[in-house]
């Protein structure tokens, strides 16, 4: 099982750019980029809560569990 980050989908739905999200959440654009590409080991609840707050969504809208090898 793997966790896939669907942040790019939610950003597109909200018509928001990564830069704006990074400014409003208070983390670097580089970290947003890493998060979008799934190149992070984890996300703090604090960061997740702020992203959900800004994007007006639930954690389940951003994260999806998929069987290994399925993307």
């Amino acid at each position: 099982m793997q966790i896939v980050v669907r942040l790019d989908v939610m950003l597109a739905r909200r018509k928001m750019r990564s830069r704006e999200l990074s400014e409003r959440v208070g983390i670097t654009e580089q970290n947003i980029s890493l998060l979008k590409s799934g190149k992070v080991k984890g996300i703090r609840f604090e960061t997740l809560a702020r992203i959900c707050d800004v994007l007006e969504c639930q954690p389940g809208d951003l994260l999806e569990a998929l069987p290994d090898g399925e993307m």
Partner: protein
């Protein structure tokens, strides 16, 4: 997130590194001196061990063994100083939480333990060698534990623990850096 060591700390570490390297140079000079003129070693050790030769000559074999023992003891000090210099170099270069610093810390600890072991072994071996040729009744074997030996054991143990804790801290930081 990168947190730098304060400049004063890095400068102090650089000074201590230089002092460690100077101490290494002095000890290498001392080792050469002892190897060239073993009389220096005997003149220093005999009063310290409380041994009076009473006009007896010490054989070349015994002298050579004493020199080898002294050089071994000096090697443990040099080993410790070398790793101390490496540790201070890491701190001077703002690389406190690195595997290299943790490795150096553990080896400094091991060096202190080796110095304690050398200190404990030196006394009985030296007294045995120096009195081996003495007449019956004057042969001697003594064992001594000094406060500095105990200090080296405690300091060595502490440094090894600090080294292991530093390794844990490095692993934690690496894990933490993967989180956003």
């Amino acid at each position: 997130m990168t947190q730098q060591l304060p400049l004063a700390t890095r400068r102090a570490a650089a000074v201590l590194r230089t002092l460690s390297l100077l101490a290494i140079a002095v000890l290498v000079g001392l080792a050469i001196w002892i190897a060239v003129d073993p009389g220096v070693l005997l003149a220093h050790r005999l009063p310290e061990l409380g041994i009076d030769l009473g006009g007896r000559m010490i054989s070349e074999t015994v002298t050579a063994l004493l020199v080898i023992g002294a050089l071994f003891a000096l090697t443990t000090v040099l080993y410790t100083l070398w790793h101390m210099a490496r540790l201070f170099e890491c701190y001077a270069q703002d690389a406190a939480l690195t595997p290299r610093a943790a490795h150096a810390l553990r080896h400094v600890g091991f060096g202190f333990l080796a110095q304690a072991a050398a200190g404990l072994l030196a006394h009985p071996v030296e007294t045995l060698l120096l009195t081996a040729g003495a007449p019956a009744g004057q042969k001697m074997l003594s064992f001594a534990v000094s406060s500095s030996d105990l200090g080296f054991v405690l300091a060595g143990g502490m440094m090894m623990i600090v080294g292991l804790v530093t390794s844990q801290a490095i692993a934690l930081r690496a894990e933490n850096e993967g989180f956003v």
